[in-house]
Symmetry: C2
Subunit: 403 residues, 2 copies
């Protein structure tokens, strides 16, 4: 079965204003894909197509009147099942919460309407935005930590971010910046900083090439695809350096080498509550991995957690030293193409460093292995999400020109 | 009607171990107070006395066997109505959530059992721990921001803390430190730092005396009571300085002068979500003040919020300069005694600076006006909660000796 490319909303919206297309027609094109592929994919816990059509018609009327709510008015949007919505259950993927309705919209949803492609809201604590984006051939955006309001998402981890999967960098930016203009960032954070329009491409002066501790686990064809992309950037005259060329990059590689076990400890402690109260309620409804995480947490002390977040802070300061010399870092978004079947969601080894560091990162669908998509990951600096988008757009254009 | 002094748990627990008293007998003494005063006070949304008695009996058995869960095993505890409990509804003081049961315990409750004095868990964004403690003649403790896990509390404000109202400093410390040993702090924070036992009194070398922008609003008798306390500390040989004696204190007084409007702006933006989704659901169930806060928030931009938290951070850095010269700062905990009737919960002007600064503060029931209690507030430095308790215990002992 060959899946279609996701449809960007940003270019279509230009036609809504001109009267050559409507949000309802855009939705119907999405629905024809959903009808064809959902039986095989099983992506949606629930959807309400009649409500989506009515919402798209109301949006069409606003565009026709020249008064859309925002540049993404009418964009169909998927919402991860741990994020509250007023009109759909929030089940957190768990039988403990079957049919649970909270009756309110999460901060990132109030801004929007219904539930389908071309964009989706997700959350990433380890790698749950960038990895699926890599596997699905779409753009994934994990913002700087705290920059998109997580209110109403059942996810309290200190590394967790609400982020976006979208058909294009432009759509991803518009979704993210329109959420934060209305709902802000997490309390105490300034929210996503940047322009209301997608940042235009800006050619990077220099890029750090990270091969990370995931490199050894990556498929030979994934490594080859990455090296080809690096070679195309070098051919285009972009300055590139790796751990062998720059001792600061070597220090960063060392600081992120243990990102996975460090993140595991931090998440275990932070999940101690509420997992302990769920276990006391009905342990048979917790997965074996949740029970294992809880056991790990209950063997930890507050002092050990404090030591772990101190190490994390030190790693963040080490990484920030790249700012002086590089516009961004590039690496793979996954060690290979999507695994076959439902037994595994894939290895997050290339995603956990950005989560641990709290930095913004995007996955771009620029690589492939035997026809299956593979993401090129571009990671920026805390708070500099807009600059990351500008550099990522330039890299996309350079790769596209060379391909 | 004369209310009883709250009963400290810490000295009673020594008798549990010796077999001269039991948690059940302690509970019955509390219940005799509840029976007598609750009809006039109306403090409890709900309680389950049979379950409390059964829990006290189980605790008594553990003490008898020499195996209590913690030094506060069996302590009856009140839980503020915005904090989730597995076995009671969580109504947030609002008809929108009448009968709402979430089926899980909040992070700060899992550690405990049932619901009554001598200690209570509360939350403070502006002044909702220290002010009622002052009015009620008990000890109030607002910890450093982030140091007691707020998970399960319906309160996402960046200044909000879960804190403790208790019969004594020792009880307040034991409740707080036992919660954090089990549930930690907010994700990303190291949690409350300090010993498992109450910190012993430590005589301060020097104290900063803050009269704050609330001073002009304080009742003359409140000011006189405060000045008498200051004089007793001076007589005891403690070095004291105020804004006239030290330009650093003058800068701090200026940094906290606008704490109330700054906090109002920050809280308005941070409450934009979820208030907007509640309004969209049923605006008639929001209070007028909630609708006013929402209107204020919707007139703000993300940029204005960013500017407000930048000012707050600057104020925090200014306050931290006191660390070099003073062990703590003292001020009033309220501008007067409790207001009569249910029309007002009192003026938080003396409490909002500690909330805005994110610093730990306690209110001690050492002052009075015409026989009504008034709190002396002692404020410390971020993360130094245990040092604050040691200094506060010494100040309590000095005041008691002089009184």
């Amino acid at each position: 079965m060959t899946f279609p490319q996701p449809m960007p909303f940003f270019p279509a919206a230009a036609n809504f204003a001109a009267g050559n297309d409507t949000p309802r027609q855009f939705l119907e094109r999405c629905l024809s894909h959903v009808e064809k592929f959902e039986p095989a994919v099983g992506a949606f816990v629930c959807h309400d197509i009649a409500a989506a059509r009515a919402a798209a018609d109301r949006s069409a009327a606003r565009w026709r009147d020249g008064r859309p709510f925002s540049p993404i008015d009418g964009m169909p949007l998927g919402i991860k099942d741990i994020i509250e919505t007023a009109d759909m259950p929030t089940e957190q993927g768990s039988p403990l919460f079957a049919g649970c309705r909270t009756g309110r919209d999460a901060a990132s949803v109030a801004a929007f309407s219904c539930g389908m492609i071309p964009a989706a809201l997700g959350t990433q604590v380890v790698g749950s935005i960038l990895r699926p984006a890599s596997f699905c051939g779409c753009v994934g955006f994990k913002p700087s930590v705290g920059r998109i309001n997580r209110g109403g998402s059942y996810d309290y981890f200190s590394q967790s971010c609400t982020g976006v999967l979208a058909a294009s960098l432009e759509d991803a930016w518009l979704v993210a910046v329109n959420i934060t203009a209305r709902a802000g960032g997490d309390p105490g954070y300034p929210g996503l900083q940047g322009p209301a329009e997608p940042p235009p491409p800006r050619r990077p002066r220099a890029l750090a090439v990270l091969r990370t501790s995931g490199w050894e686990e990556a498929a030979p064809k994934a490594r080859a695809a990455f090296e080809a992309a690096v070679a195309r950037l070098a051919d285009a005259g972009i300055a590139l350096a790796d751990r062998h060329a720059d001792p600061v990059i070597e220090e960063v590689e060392e600081a992120i080498a243990d990102a996975a076990p460090l993140t595991r400890s931090i998440n275990a402690w932070e999940g101690r509550w509420p997992l302990n109260t769920y276990r006391d309620r009905d342990a048979t409804k917790l997965s074996r991995s949740a029970l294992e995480r809880l056991a790990m947490a209950e063997a930890m002390s507050l002092t050990e957690y404090g030591a772990a977040i101190t190490v994390r802070q030190h790693n963040r300061e080490t990484h920030a030293r790249l700012t002086a010399r590089y516009d961004a870092a590039i690496t793979l978004a996954a060690p290979g193409a999507a695994p076959v079947g439902l037994g595994s969601t894939g290895n997050p080894v290339f995603n956990v460093p950005a989560s641990m560091l709290g930095i913004p990162a995007v996955s771009l669908p620029l690589l492939s292995i035997d026809g299956l998509p593979l993401g090129l990951q571009i990671a920026g600096f805390v708070g500099e999400d807009a600059a990351l988008f500008a550099v990522a757009a330039a890299i996309r254009d350079l790769q596209g020109a060379a391909a």
